[in-house]
Symmetry: C2
Subunit: 204 residues, 2 copies
DNA sequence: TTATTTAGTGAGTAAAATTTACTTACTTTA
DNA sequence: TAAAGTAAGTAAATTTTACTCACTAAATAA
C-alpha cells in the first residue's frame, strides 16, 4: 500500500508542536464524530494543550478544519499526480483519476468526510487554501479531457466541463455511502463500472 | 413555469401559524447564510415569534431543518412523478429525471442547498422523514434503469446501481456551482450534455 | 360554567466558542 | 552580557447560542 493513512499530512517542520498536535487531534476525533459535535474542549484535551492555543494558530474552529483538510489534500495531490504521470492515453489517465480518487477517499475517510460533507456548506471555505487545492485537481481533469479530445481519443462533441462534472459527481457519489454509512467499497469494481458507463455509454 | 418557488411547501393547514412562520423564516434566512451560522435568535426574530416557540414545534434546530427540507421534497416528488409518467421509454424517463431534478434545484436553491450541503453531515438525518423521500426518489431511478435493461434499451452489462450513482452524482455536481456560487445554469444545455455523455459514452 | 387543551411568551441556564491578559523561554542585538 | 523582542503556551473571563421551563391568554369541549 502506497497510500496509507498518516498521522500528519502536512509540512510538519516549521509548524510548532502545539499546532501539529491540535491538527492531529481534530483529525483523530473526526474518525468518530462529525465536526460540529466536536468541541474545542475535546480538541484541546485530545491534543494535550489548552483551548486558547487553538486560537493562537487558527482564526476559528473552521479555519482549523480547513487547514487539516489542506494537509490531507497535499498528500492526495502528490499521490495522484505521480499516478497520472505513469499513463500516456487520456482515457487511461481519467481511469486512473477515478480509481485513485476512490481509493484515496476509501483509505482516508476523514479526508473524504471533510471534503464531501463538512466544508462545502460555509462560503468562506471557498476562499481557503484547501479549496485552492481542489481547483488544481479539478483543473487537471479538465486539461486531460481537452487533451483527449485533441488527440482524438474522446468524441469532439463532448463538452469538457460536462464530462468533468460527470466524472467528479460519479466519484463523489460513489463515496458517499461509504463515508456516511461506513460501507466497504470494492474500488476495482466500482471504478470499472463507472468507467464502463462514462466511456462506452449505456445505450444500446 | 409549473414549478415555482413557493413560500411554504408544506401541508400548510393543520400547522399552527407560528410553526409555518418559523419554517418560512429558516427557509428565507438560508438564501443568504448557511444553516450553522443562522442562530435560533435570528430565526425567531425573522419569524416574529419567540425562541421558545421553536422548541414547542421542533425537537431541536436540526429537526426544524429536516422538516423544512421535507416540505420542499414533497413538492419536488409530486412534480417529478408526474413528469416521468408522461414518458414511455426508460431512457426518456431518465432524461426527464435529470432535467427535472436540475430544474428543481435551480428554481429552489434553498431546497438544493439543504439537500446537497447541509443535512448529510449529521447521522440522524438518515433516520428522518426527509431522507425517506430521498430513498423513494432514488428507488424510482433504480427501477427505471432495471426496466430499461429488461426492455433492451440499456446495455445488460451496465450495473444498475453504478448507473444510478453516475446519474445522481452528475446531477448533484452540476448543481453545486449554482448552489454555492449562485451561477446561472443553462438547464437544457447541461442536461443535454450529461445525457449525451452517459447515454452515448465519451470514447470514440 | 368550568375544565382542558392549544398557541405562544419570556426569562433563564448550561455548554460551547472566542477573547483577553498574562507567564515562560528562547533569540537577537546593542 | 544585559536588554529587548518574540514565539509558545496558559488560565480564566466573556460572549454567544442552543435549549428549558414555568407561565399566560385564548379557544374549545364538557
Amino acid at each position: 500500500m502506497e497510500l496509507e493513512q498518516k498521522k500528519v499530512c502536512l509540512p510538519e517542520k516549521s509548524f510548532p508542536p502545539g499546532k501539529i498536535k491540535i491538527m492531529n487531534a481534530l483529525s483523530e476525533l473526526m474518525r468518530e464524530k462529525d465536526f460540529h459535535s466536536i468541541t474545542t474542549a475535546d480538541i484541546a484535551a485530545t491534543a494535550g494543550v489548552t483551548e486558547g492555543l487553538i486560537y493562537k494558530y487558527f482564526k476559528d474552529k473552521k479555519d482549523l478544519l480547513y487547514q487539516v483538510l489542506n494537509g490531507h489534500f497535499q498528500t492526495f495531490q502528490h499521490y495522484i499526480t505521480r499516478k497520472i504521470a505513469a499513463q500516456t492515453a487520456s482515457v487511461d489517465k481519467l481511469r486512473i483519476i477515478i480509481k485513485t480518487s476512490l481509493k484515496s477517499y476509501a483509505v482516508n475517510r476523514v479526508f473524504a468526510r471533510i471534503l464531501l460533507l463538512e466544508v462545502r456548506n460555509s462560503s468562506n471555505y471557498f476562499e481557503s487554501d484547501a479549496y485552492d487545492m481542489v481547483k488544481i485537481y479539478s483543473r487537471t481533469i479538465l486539461d486531460i479531457i481537452s487533451q483527449g479530445i485533441d488527440a482524438g481519443e474522446i468524441r469532439e462533441d463532448v463538452d469538457p466541463h460536462a464530462l468533468r462534472q460527470v466524472i467528479l459527481g460519479s466519484i463523489e457519489h460513489a463515496c458517499l455511502g461509504e463515508v456516511i454509512f461506513g460501507k466497504e467499497l470494492d474500488i476495482d469494481k466500482v471504478s470499472e463500472n463507472i468507467c464502463n458507463i462514462i466511456f462506452k455509454g449505456v445505450q444500446k
